[in-house]
Symmetry: C2
Subunit: 301 residues, 2 copies
């Protein structure tokens, strides 16, 4: 008998995880509010479920790939939520980027149910999600890790065990997002200054990619700018949220984070100008608008 | 007959370049104000020269690896400066990070002498300099490139030709330094927040290095923090200078650079607290002091 696993939230990362679980031979239930996404998933061999409860019933593991803590709360404890139907000993892996304190709270609330909690935020981007090569920043009991192991193997090539305490994975993910968000923002700032100074942006991208100024995000996001393609792989508003978690955690811990705060302000400005649902590299439009820079349109050169 | 080349300024990058030129079989004259450095260079087969003029006399190429535009000006045009003795048709490669406008001015001033100017800032760090694997961001006439070619081959694996106009190399280098400086500063900010939140810094480094939050600088500089070793490979004051070039260029071009400006402020603060000559990763001490974080000392763990 094949094991049953449920993935709630079939966005870029969740869909990739669900596909990887299908390839590994599991029975995979996929939950998403969008009918066309459920249909696509069913056509690829998945089981489309209408509600979190329908997807999670009797599943050995539930992976939650929604956008934030509010949605995680809703799919777990709202109407037709997953937790009420999960059997004792099943594992619940929360994969969205959420405040560490939210996950700590979850751990307490799940105790009576006997559901095992794995704090399991991920990194790697859409391509790695699709190929089953994500990085998982995991924290939870040995029992939770052990129950989740066969499924984690299907979706990730690196699974870090950051200790017994849920919250620790989300803490590390938060630091990753601080860096990722600032790197996207400064990539835009650098490309904007380069263009303003008359440097060919394609040449600039090529040189910097091979120099000490490079970053994972510079290499990943600047091509969107060069193509003028702001179709969201990850949207501006995601970093409004994630850098918001960073700065409020900094406030709570009494540490000033001037660089993250400045980057957050840029994402906020971009969102305020109506770019919230565009790709996060669209923050360069703030610089372009304010300084009269003509961005590449991707139509010839 | 072997060709003669002169390297002025035997710091981390200049010494590496001079060693690479020696390995390639050239006669290499090295100029440095520090007697112990000259002595070391002579013991490795180089020719120690006391003044820029002594080093540059009849050399086919002169590489200037001093710290900034003031020092470049002094070694070229000051007492016993190099330019007055350089033969017509020799090439002068300026490798320090300097304001683009300074290099444009040099091009004008060198015209009467017939010396060929190559705007040739470098990237790659000390290890790559020592192994002859730097990246050169070059700009200059075809004649300048051609004359410099055998020497560039010895010191670099990537030589970009950014066009005929000196200044264009320095412009690209300036963008690289914007990114590099911000990446160092945000690496410190991220590691400080992580430690404040109770994450083991060694684990944090390992996870982030394999995630989308990574950067060249994160991977290169954070190990200094983990070892508690702030011996300067590149000092805090270098980025006070380089980010200063960035922000004043931004001012001149009418483009706001909020992230670079915030990073510059951090380097300025660090320098003001007496850390100017420590390794640039020492900016983390500002966060540690202000938020009561105990940094790793490298003595056990």
């Amino acid at each position: 008998m094949t094991k049953t696993v449920c993935v709630i939230g079939l966005g870029t990362m969740g869909y990739g995880a669900a596909q990887s679980l299908l390839r590994a031979g599991f029975t995979v239930r996929g939950v998403d509010v969008r009918p066309e996404v459920r249909q696509r998933f069913a056509s690829e061999g998945g089981v489309a479920a209408l509600t979190p409860a329908e997807g999670a019933k009797d599943a050995e593991a539930v992976f939650v790939f929604v956008v934030n803590s509010e949605q995680t709360e809703a799919v777990l404890f709202g109407n037709d939520g997953a937790v009420s139907v999960m059997p004792k000993g099943a594992v619940l892996a929360t994969c969205a980027t959420v405040p560490p304190a939210f996950v700590e709270g979850l751990a307490e609330r799940l105790k009576p149910s006997g559901v095992l909690l794995l704090d399991a935020p991920v990194s790697g981007g859409g391509a790695k999600a699709a190929s089953g090569e994500m990085t998982v920043m995991g924290a939870g009991s040995p029992a939770a890790f052990s129950k989740a192991e066969p499924f984690l193997k299907a979706i990730a090539t690196k699974v870090y065990n950051l200790g017994d305490a849920p919250g620790q994975g989300s803490r590390v993910k938060m630091i990753n997002q601080l860096l990722a968000g600032v790197h996207i923002a400064v990539s835009a700032e650098a490309m904007a200054l380069g263009m303003r100074a008359g440097i060919d942006p394609n040449v600039l991208y090529e040189v910097i990619s091979n120099s000490a100024g490079s970053s994972w995000m510079f290499q990943n996001r600047v091509p969107h700018i060069l193509k003028g393609d702001y179709t969201p792989l990850s949207a501006v508003d995601i970093f409004v949220k994630d850098l918001g978690i960073v700065t409020s955690t900094g406030d709570a811990l009494g540490i000033e984070l001037p660089i993250a705060s400045t980057a957050l302000k840029l994402f906020d400005t971009a969102s305020g100008r109506g770019l919230g649902r565009e790709d996060d590299s669209a923050v360069i439009k703030v610089y372009a608008e304010d300084s009269g820079i003509a961005l590449p349109t991707g139509q010839g050169s």
